[in-house]
């Protein structure tokens, strides 16, 4: 019988299925960080339970870590949370890339870097952006702390089988249009909850042509479309990315697992519960104008008018969003000035993202009214970028070059956008207060963020000279 990759991977992980119950699903890899794990470990201790398979767990510190002066954490509550993770990992025998460890980074960036993320695996983490790992053809999803505790003690989860959804991006992307623009366009077109109860498989020529890093950007934001998970069938691009990584076998053994990975791809003729399609050529560089990731449009567009919406609740939602954002109906996106630029996060802080941004800023200077920071996604990304001299390009242009972590994506550390100020951000969420109480977030690609840093407002990257050469 022909199957989608979603069904193949799910079926292989069902420990038991009974009438009237969800499936008991085996979890191959459990990633942990300091914010959503302390109560889970405490639960284990209170019940006298152990971690069933500590070797299937991997922990790091990312949400709270300072990106300047990493030796001192100014907030004692944050420090305590990190110390707690360190103690928990020691007590329960879990490998930890602590704050100053060479492998430290955002949990969704280091999993793939280390080769922990592999096709066909079930991967969970107490973080909604776990969907990132789906880029490899894994079923990867975010869970709450109670489920973290459940996985720690049983290596399983009770899960209802999700429905399957294909999002097909056909054709070729235009110059200056990136993976970030694709996923923002998908969410804007189909809605913030289109994926609820589903796992999305992204397919089509435009997806096939993406690098692994770009595929991670797409899958990362599946959750912003409400999906349980997002994934992409493995192909040669997947295999070549993983070859030689630390936790991946080598030699003949690698060729054997690679063949197995490729066999997971969705079979010809397999049927999804839902299929949605989008023309790659119609996608522009995107900018969000509102307070959720679906509230965005192409850079040549404008903030909507209330009259564009039929339902009173949508009109009301628009009004609330633009009031918070300090924008007017009908305002062209290219008229919006910004004060901050954040290049970072699990969505867009990999080496190729930094290269794309550096190509725009090279030889230019950050606009005098803009503060711009680059926060590499991991220490490894930072080292590689420095070997290429990207740090010098950014610094010469007036960017700050920081240490790795989640940083200004959710502003749990000191990297906060002040109230009423506006940030062009390569992160994933523009919710009210996400980057600081009263802060206004516009989601964009790294190249669009870099161009905004130079111009002091949003500008069409397709008209920037460097792209025309």
């Amino acid at each position: 019988m022909v199957k989608t990759i979603i069904e193949k991977v799910w079926d292989r992980h069902v420990v038991t299925e009974e009438e009237g119950k969800p499936d008991l699903l085996y979890i191959d890899l459990h990633l942990l960080h300091e914010v959503t794990s302390p109560q889970a470990f405490e639960g284990l201790r209170l019940a006298g339970r152990k971690v069933r398979r500590p070797e299937r767990c991997y922990a790091t510190m990312d949400h709270n870590v300072p990106t300047r002066n990493i030796e001192t954490v100014s907030d004692p509550t944050a420090q305590k949370q990190m110390t707690t993770l360190e103690k928990n990992c020691e007590e329960f025998g879990i490998e930890l890339a602590h704050m100053t460890h060479p492998d430290q980074g955002i949990v969704h960036i280091i999993g793939p870097e280390l080769g922990l993320t592999q096709p066909g695996r079930t991967i969970v983490c107490g973080d909604s952006h776990t969907s990132t790992h789906g880029a490899f053809g894994a079923i990867a999803f975010g869970i709450g702390t109670s489920e973290v505790e459940h996985v720690l003690s049983t290596q399983t989860l009770w899960q209802n089988r999700p429905k399957t959804m294909e999002v097909k991006i056909f054709g070729k992307l235009g110059t200056g249009v990136t993976a970030k623009d694709v996923i923002l366009a998908v969410i804007a077109k189909f809605g913030i909850d289109v994926g609820t109860g589903h796992i999305i498989e992204f397919t089509g020529e435009a997806i096939r042509n993406l690098s692994m890093e770009e595929r991670m950007t797409i899958c990362n934001m599946s959750i912003e479309a409400g999906a349980k998970a997002g994934l992409i069938s493995p192909d040669e691009t997947t295999v070549e990315y993983l070859r030689g990584r630390r936790h991946v076998p080598d030699g003949e053994e690698f060729e054997a697992v690679a063949a197995e990975w490729l066999s997971l791809a969705t079979d010809e003729g397999a049927v999804y519960d839902t299929t949605l399609t989008l023309d790659a050529a119609a996608i522009e560089p995107y900018v969000t104008w509102g307070t959720n990731p679906a509230m965005g449009t192409g850079i040549s567009g404008h903030v909507p008018y209330a009259s564009d919406y039929a339902s009173p609740s949508d009109k009301e939602a628009l009004k609330k969003a633009i009031t918070y954002m300090g924008l007017e109906e009908g305002m062209p996106l290219s008229d919006i000035s910004i004060q901050h630029v954040f290049i970072g996060s699990c969505t867009n802080a990999r080496l190729s993202d930094l290269r794309a941004a550096a190509a725009i800023v090279e030889g230019q200077h950050v606009h005098p009214s803009v503060t711009a920071i680059v926060v590499p996604g991991s220490r490894s990304v930072k080292r590689l970028a420095e070997q290429e001299g990207l740090d010098e390009v950014f610094k010469a242009a007036g960017f700050e070059w920081r240490e790795s972590g989640c940083s200004m994506c959710l502003a749990m550390n000191d990297d906060v956008v002040p109230a009423g100020e506006r940030c062009a951000s390569t992160s994933n969420r523009n919710f009210e207060g996400r980057q600081g109480a009263g802060a206004r977030t516009h989601l964009v690609s790294p190249a669009m963020a870099a161009a905004a840093a130079i111009a002091g407002r949003f500008t069409d990257i397709r008209k920037v000279p460097v792209l025309q050469d």
Binding site: V15, Q81, G126, H150, W158, I192, K320, E432
Partner: protein, 196 residues
């Protein structure tokens, strides 16, 4: 986990779509390592202004809804971050039931692990509850055993669906991990099968 079956209370109407977990509990309150004490931070930036004064036009500051155990909101409630601090804050504040046309998956799951009953009603039923409930406080009786929500004002009985497993967990207040331990043999057999 405290079992839940029948809850009778005035409903709190939160007339918003796509309420994300960043609004339910803001990131500055995620640094604590306990599960309790989050209620005072629920919807913090909607409840209080930048000086910490109560925003009188926000529904949680409306004295008519004081002591409410049932929160009613519009579609896609709980979207965004997986933070279980969101249901912890909702529970600690005093809500046992959240009713909406739809919920984001992770939030929906997280509710069941904490003795909170998330109920999906139709968009029409919610529209009417939100409209009426903002004018005059509406008392609801939620019955999980019977899978109904009853409006005291109109007498309307609104049935709801819930999967039998989650219903049992809530009715009994079971600890899911203890239940899963009964499947130890199957888990061990799976691991052995996969190791081969």
């Amino acid at each position: 986990m405290e079992p839940i079956n029948v809850v009778t209370s005035i409903m709190t109407p939160l007339d918003r779509k796509n309420v994300d977990t960043d609004q339910i509990i803001s990131k500055e309150f995620l640094k604590r390592i306990e599960r309790t004490g989050f209620g005072k931070y629920l919807f913090y930036h909607w409840r209080f202004d930048s000086e910490g004064k109560a925003n009188t036009d926000f529904v949680l500051n409306d004295s008519r809804f004081e002591g409410s155990q049932i929160l009613v909101a519009d579609e896609n409630f709980g979207c965004g971050s997986s933070r279980e601090h969101a249901p912890w804050a909702i529970l600690d504040y005093g809500f046992r039931v959240v009713i909406a046309p739809g919920f984001a998956d992770i939030f929906y799951n997280n509710c069941f692990k904490n003795g909170i009953l998330p109920i999906r009603l139709t968009q029409n039923e919610i529209d009417s509850l939100l409209a009426d409930g903002q004018k005059i406080p509406v008392e609801l009786t939620v019955n999980l055993e019977k899978q109904t929500v009853t409006r005291k004002d109109t007498g309307a009985i609104l049935p709801f669906n819930i999967d039998p497993y989650s219903r049992q967990m809530l009715l009994n207040g079971w600890d899911e991990i203890s239940l899963t331990f009964q499947y130890e043999d199957q888990i061990a057999a799976y691991e052995e099968r996969m190791a081969r």
